[in-house]
Symmetry: C3
Subunit: 287 residues, 3 copies
C-alpha cells in the first residue's frame, strides 16, 4: 500500500473518484472527518459502497472506524464487515488487549456472515502510549497487517512541532522497528498541506528512508506522488539485481561475504535486494 | 513554569534577587550546588526563606532535594515541607516505587503539619534508567507535576556530547511523550554556558519545538529569555484564534474536518489551538 | 577497544596480519563471513590460532560465533573456549535469558577446562527486538563486557537507509544508554565502504559524539582511523586536567558547583573529566 486515499464516509459523492484514482487503497473515514451527528449516515454510506458498485474493484478497501472508547466502534464494524472490506483501521491503539478483543469481534462477524477471508487490522500508532507499546501491538494478533503513524494526534495536543524533522524521524524509526518485530510494514502519516506537493513529496521521501512502505493521502493529487516515491527506482532495481545475482553465485562457491564495487555485502544486504525486487514485481515495475 | 531559576541553598545572599526576578519559579538547590559538609546549613537557609520573608511571594517555590540514596533525602524534606513550599524536585528518579514512597512521606508531613495544600513532585529524568522508565514515573502518583530533564548527569558520565542535537532532541521527545501519557508538562535542562545568551535561546527554542514548557535557568539573565521563548507569539495567538473560531463554527455545522488556508484541520489541531490560547491567558498575553 | 578488526575464520592466511595490526582487538568471524559448508573448517582454524602462535599476543581476542538458533553455537564455543580467548561475540541477541544460558555454558567449559579467567560476552544489538531489550541484555549477566551495534542486520532487511543520520544516531544513543545502565561500553557497527576512509572516519566521529567507545573494522586500513578517533585529543586532555584540578580544589573548599571559563561545572562534569584522563592513560597518551 504505497498510497492510501482517505475519503470522508459522510461524502459519498467523492467515493467514485477515490475508487478511480491510482491509490493502492481507499480508506473510508468514519472517525475524525465525520461529525458526531453524522456518524450513522456515514456508516450507511460506506456499507452501501462496499457492498455495491465498488465491491469488485481491484483496490484494498479500508474503513477507519471510531476508536474503542468512542461508543461507535461496535456499530461501525457491524455495519461494514462484509466481503467488500479488506481492512479495519483502528485509531489510537494503545495496547495488545484491545486488539485481541477487536480481533475476536471480527472473527464473530466473519463466522456469522460466512465470510471466507479474514478482515485485517491496520493499527494506528498516534498517542504517546501507543508509541511506547507499538511492538506489543504489532505482535498482538495475526490479523494485524501493519502499523499506521498518525502525527496529528501524536504531536498537536502536546505542542510538538510537525516541522521538527528529528521528531518525525524518531517516531518513524520507532514504529518501523516495532512493525519489523512482527515482519509487518509501517506507513507514514497524512500530510495536512493539501496543496503543497513539494512538501508532501519531501515527507514521503523522508519516510521511505526510514523504511516506511507508503503514506496516507488526504487529496487525490497526493496519490501519484506517493506511488512514485514508494516504488523502487530503476537504479535501485538494477543494483538489487546485481547484488542478488552475486549473492547467488557466492553461495554456490561457499563464500559468506564479498565485496561488490567497494562495498562489503553479506546476508542482510542480499535479503534486502531480494525484497526490493519482489516489491518491484508487485508494482509491475517490469523486473 | 516557563523559567525556573536555580539558587544554591548555601548562598542565602542570592535569595532576594531570585525572588525579585521575573522567573515563574525559584528552585532552591540542596543537591549538586551544595558541597557535602554544607548540606545542613543550606537546608536551614532554605527552610527559613520559605517560612519567612518570601512566604507570600507569588512565585512557585521549589526545593531540589538530595536523592533517595544520598542519605540526605529525609532530612531535606523534613526541613522544607511547609506552607511556603509548592514543589519538591527529586533528582535521578528511576522508577515509580521510589516516587510512591516519597509521596507517602510527604503526605505524612502534610498531615502532621496541618498543611492544606499538597506538595507537588517534579521528577528529574537524568539517568539512562530514568529515561527508560519515564512514562511509569510520570504515571506513578497524582503528586507528580512534571518531568524535568537533566542533561549533565545523563550525558557527561557516558561521554555523550551535549552539542549533539539529535541526542538532545531524542531525549526531549522521549521525556515529552512520557509526560504526555500523564497529561503533564516536561521541562528542558539547564544550559551551562552562563554568559552565552544566544546559545541559551537557541536551546530554549529547540526545546519548545519538542513541546517542552520551560527551561531551568542557572543565572538571572537567562530568565527573560526563557519567558520569551516559552510564551506563545502574537502570530501563534492569532492563528490559534482563527482555528478555534473555525472549529467552533464547523462543529455547529456538523463537519469533522475542514481546510483552513490550505491546511487540513481536525480535532487535534483545534485542541492545540485552545491549549495555546489558555497558556497565553495564563501568561497575561492579552488574548 | 577503540578498534576491533574482523577476520573471517575461513581465511587463516589473514590471521597473522590481523595480529600484527594496531587493532585493540581481533575478532575472528565464524558467522556471516563464513559460508555454511565451511563452518567446521573455520572453527578449527580459529581454535588453532588461539591455542598456538597468537596465544601470547597482547590483544583482546574475540570470536564472533554463530547465533543461538543457528545450530552452530554449541560447536563454536566448544571449539574456541580456552586460555587464548577473551571474549565471545554473540550475534542477534534479543533478551536476557539466552545470555544467561550462554553464560552457564561458558562457565561449564571454564570449569571442565580449568580456565582461570572468565570469558566475556560481547552482545550484538542488531535486530529490532534486540534494540528494545538492550538494557535488559546489558544487565543480564556479569559476563557481558559491552554492547555491539550491527547496522546491516538492523537496517537492511527493513529498508532503513544506512545513510539516514538520524536513524544511525537514534540507535547509537539507545544502545549507549542501555549499556550505561550496566556501566558498560557500547561499540559502533562496521562500515561497509571498504575503501572510503573519509566516510569511515565521519561515521566514527559521529559514533564518538554519542559516547561509543570504538568501532568494528572490516579492513586493516580502518584500524588507525578508529584508534585516532576514539582516543582523547590533546585539547580534551588539557581541558579534562583543568576541570579535574578545579574540581579537587573546589571539593577542598566545600563548594559543590563552580564556573570555569564561563561554563558551570558540577559533579557529572568532574566525573567525565576523570574518566577521559583514565582512558588517555590506558591508551598511553602520556597524561
Amino acid at each position: 500500500m504505497r498510497s492510501k486515499l482517505f475519503v470522508p464516509g459522510s461524502r459519498p459523492e467523492l467515493f467514485d473518484k477515490a475508487f478511480r484514482s491510482a491509490a493502492d487503497a481507499v480508506s473510508f473515514d468514519l472517525e475524525d472527518a465525520v461529525a458526531p451527528d453524522r456518524k450513522a449516515e456515514a456508516r450507511a454510506n460506506v456499507a452501501e459502497a462496499l457492498g455495491g458498485a465498488f465491491a469488485g474493484a481491484r483496490k484494498t478497501t479500508i474503513v477507519r472506524v471510531n476508536g474503542f472508547e468512542s461508543g461507535h466502534f461496535e456499530a461501525d464494524i457491524e455495519a461494514v464487515a462484509g466481503p467488500g472490506l479488506n481492512v479495519v483501521n483502528i485509531p489510537k491503539v494503545e495496547g495488545a488487549d484491545a486488539i485481541k478483543r477487536a480481533s475476536e469481534r471480527l472473527a464473530g462477524l466473519e463466522r456469522s456472515r460466512g465470510l471466507d477471508r479474514p478482515i485485517g487490522i491496520l493499527a494506528n500508532i498516534e498517542t504517546p502510549r501507543g508509541v511506547r507499546f507499538a511492538a506489543e501491538i504489532a505482535l498482538a494478533d495475526p490479523r494485524i497487517v501493519g502499523l499506521q503513524i498518525g502525527f496529528g494526534d501524536l504531536f498537536e495536543p502536546y505542542g510538538i512541532a510537525r516541522t521538527n524533522r528529528t521528531a518525525l524521524d524518531v517516531i518513524r524509526l520507532s514504529v518501523r522497528l516495532a512493525a519489523a518485530e512482527a515482519r509487518l510494514p509501517a506507513y507514514d502519516g497524512a500530510f495536512v498541506g493539501v496543496h503543497d506537493d513539494e512538501a508532501f513529496r519531501t515527507e514521503a521521501e523522508q519516510a521511505r528512508e526510514l523504511g516506511l512502505a507508503g503514506k496516507s493521502c488526504i487529496h487525490p493529487r497526493q496519490v501519484p506522488l506517493a506511488n512514485l516515491v514508494f516504488s523502487p527506482t530503476a537504479v535501485e532495481i538494477k543494483k538489487a539485481r546485481k547484488i542478488a545475482a552475486a549473492g547467488a553465485e557466492m553461495h554456490r562457491r561457499g563464500v559468506g561475504a564479498f565485496t561488490l564495487e567497494g562495498v562489503m555485502v553479506d546476508e542482510p544486504f542480499i535479503a534486502r535486494a531480494r525484497a526490493l525486487l519482489a516489491a518491484a514485481e508487485r508494482n509491475g515495475d517490469g523486473v
